[in-house]
């Protein structure tokens, strides 16, 4: 057993590092702390943040890959290959593969198949599933069984919540003594936070428990568990939303600020570059770049050791391509703002004192742009998650072997035409995606209201 670090894994963990550094710098600045506090004063923003954190944790768990050795323990033999920590904790779902479609909580397959009994008689019947609901005695009610299996998860969730509350209480008790008595700040909506943590935690534990006995969200064409696919897709969606901004940000910042600050020919060149890129229809530019990438990957298949590496590199390329095509909007915004700020008196004063351009940019301009950057980051996130689905449909998205909501929708499109309809793949992709995008949108709304001084409420 050894760790395997894929490129995107490294990027996710470095992103986590950046986020932690950001939180640290927020803690140190009085103004930033107040702003962030005010963001979380909204119950909606708090609940959204909890949901986003859950998704991010899943993405992190999916980003630690381990190579299981094929030698040694024979019971592990069939499991050699690269697995993420998330895969390992959901191993029972990987192993409980059915033959074909089955509905959520079903005990039998979704369509009939021809069977031959011992006498050579042909009959048409619904075959029983290999794993789903097979612990039940014949005739037992599924729903009663599900209800029975709710108690334990509920108890466990209450236990975890009690522990959290205790820790939180202790922390508050410790800081309460230090708090300024005149501090009239509103308390944060902890109730909302706890309710959302409780619901998400309970849902996860409940589904996890049930998934040992049933296919909670059904199985797809080749009998894979849809819940497993939906959870694995979280990583792809979150990565595309977050890492793209990591690629885009340096470009937008450096070019936008230089254009606005140095003006003259620098401004002309940068404006030319982004007008040109902007004038190419977005999807086409991405499609063209991905096509080129596909040809390069097929022509150089010897670069990659495994299918995981190839799929990962394709995801990485996609992230880079999305980043390279989406920096223009923020760049234009930053350029305009820099132009405005560099006219302000304190910048002229700094110049008069003989400060170099890099010092001025670092001390006077960059801090005044941070709210724009933050707003752009949270705004872009949901758009990118949605874009992944569309790109996968167009055929220029992530690798077909990568679990992603786009790939799930793409397959589900054909299933809807079946009679009777196979709806659960599409439904699951919809629920998982909608929850993420909705909470991202709601959170970004709040960030915008608090950070953007010009926005009308």
């Amino acid at each position: 057993m050894s760790f395997v670090w894929l490129w995107t894994d490294l990027m996710v963990w470095s992103l986590l590092f950046v986020i932690l550094a950001g939180i640290r710098s927020i803690k140190h600045s009085e103004q930033a702390r107040k702003q962030w506090r005010s963001i979380f004063e909204s119950p909606i923003a708090m609940a959204s943040a909890v949901i986003l954190t859950f998704y991010f944790v899943f993405a992190l768990l999916g980003s630690v890959h381990i190579q299981l050795a094929s030698s040694g323990d024979s019971s592990l033999d069939k499991r050699h290959g690269v697995y993420s920590v998330l895969d390992l904790s959901l191993m029972h779902l990987i192993e409980q593969t059915e033959r074909t479609y089955s509905a959520p909580f079903a005990t039998h397959e979704y369509s009939t198949s021809l069977n031959f009994d011992e006498n050579g008689q042909v009959s048409q019947s619904y075959l029983a599933l290999k794993y789903g609901g097979q612990h039940l005695t014949k005739g037992a009610s599924i729903w009663l069984d599900v209800l029975k299996k709710t108690g334990l998860p509920l108890l466990l969730t209450f236990g975890i919540m009690a522990l959290l509350l205790l820790l939180h209480g202790l922390f508050r008790f410790r800081t309460a003594a230090l708090r300024d008595i005149n501090n009239k700040a509103k308390t944060l909506p902890w109730k909302t936070a706890y309710i959302s943590v409780f619901s998400l935690l309970f849902l996860f534990i409940w589904f996890y428990h049930l998934s040992h006995f049933y296919h909670v969200l059904g199985t797809d064409k080749v009998g894979q568990d849809v819940l497993l696919q939906s959870i694995k897709s979280i990583r792809t969606g979150v990565l595309i939303g977050l890492l793209t901004t990591l690629v885009m940000l340096p470009l937008a910042l450096i070019l936008g600020i230089s254009a606005g600050y140095f003006k003259g020919w620098v401004d002309d060149v940068i404006q030319y570059i982004y007008t040109t890129l902007n004038s190419i229809p977005g999807v086409l530019l991405i499609a063209a770049a991905v096509l080129v990438m596909q040809v390069i990957i097929t022509n150089n298949s010897d670069w990659f050791g495994s299918t995981e590496e190839r799929a990962d590199l394709r995801l990485l390329f996609l992230i880079f391509i999305l980043g390279l095509t989406s920096w223009t909007g923020l760049c234009r915004l930053l350029r305009a703002e820099t132009l405005k700020i560099s006219q302000v008196e304190y910048v002229s004063a700094a110049k008069a004192f003989g400060l170099g351009p890099f010092k001025i940019i670092k001390n006077h301009i960059l801090p005044n742009l941070m709210h724009l950057v933050l707003i752009a980051l949270v705004l872009d996130f949901s758009g990118l998650v949605l874009a992944e689905a569309v790109l996968s449909y167009v055929g220029v998205g992530v690798d077909p072997t990568t679990a992603s909501w786009g790939n799930m929708i793409n397959q589900a499109r054909l299933e809807m035409a079946r009679e009777p309809m196979v709806w659960w793949s599409l439904f699951s992709a919809f629920v998982f995606m909608f929850t993420l995008v909705l909470s991202a949108n709601l959170f970004s709304d709040r960030v915008q209201t608090v950070l953007d001084p010009r926005r009308v409420h």
Partner: protein
Amino acid sequence: MFAYIMRRVLFALPILIGVNFITFALFFMVNTPEDMARAQLGAKQTTPEMIQSWKVDHGYDKPLFFNADAPGLAKVQDTLFVQESMKLFVFDFGQSDSGRQITADVYERMWPSLAIALPTFVIGLVTNIALALLIVLFRGSALDTATMMVAVAIMSISGLFYIIAGQVLFSKVWHWVPISGYTEGWEGFKFLILPIFIGVFSGIGAGMRWYRSIFLEEMNKDYIRTARAKGLSDLKVLFGHVLQNGMLPILTGVVVVIPTLFMGSLIMESFFGIPGLGSYTLDAINAQDFGIVKAMVFLGSVLYIIGLILTDISYTLFDPRVKLA
């Protein structure tokens, strides 16, 4: 005005050359003249001589960007890049990999695209602005908050879901309209109604929020307070002042889109089997037909730049302060 437009058109040239450069660089990285010759001549029994003669015949034997052998200006002119770009500038897109004339295809497929894109655009615009005005009337109320929540929810659903759900509901379950297809003329109306409806509906969330924020910003200005103080009714203020003054920011976002309507929508057209430019492009992407994708990129950029110029012109129509010179 004429001088201004001429200048803008001239400014557009370097941008289009830049666009060409990007597509050219992208495609010639993977699709070299040798590959093209092999594809055209058939994979078997191609000798290097045949490839060479094909390249000479089609003008692909020239260097990419700089021809050191040629005299004077021809050093730059007599190259593959300039030759290929010049063809695009006169809208000669050449042949696709399947041997069809791209320019003819574009002329033919433009109209089905427009048949969907134009109604979607117009109806969507009117609906969004009307809803936004209505919501601005109720600003700050519970209705406002609730509508905005619904708008965010509508925004958060992927367009693919709207299309699939629409097809299942209206075509498969209720049998109101055919699931996909297209015919010319008024007969085609039954095919168009569902894609147009879905296109309008999926855009309502984002559109309504956008126009609402424009109108609210206008609402907070001093002249509105004056108008209200004079005793003007809410409706008069809304239609007489807010809508008119909100026109400038609306135009900024809207006019630029109009020319690109010709390009159609990739997703919509492929789901509904509309033989427009969108599905044409999508098929080309799936077949890795570089010629068509290149043509579409160029066409899209030209239309976008036309949209930018139109935006500037439209300003002069709605705001007498703007003078183009």
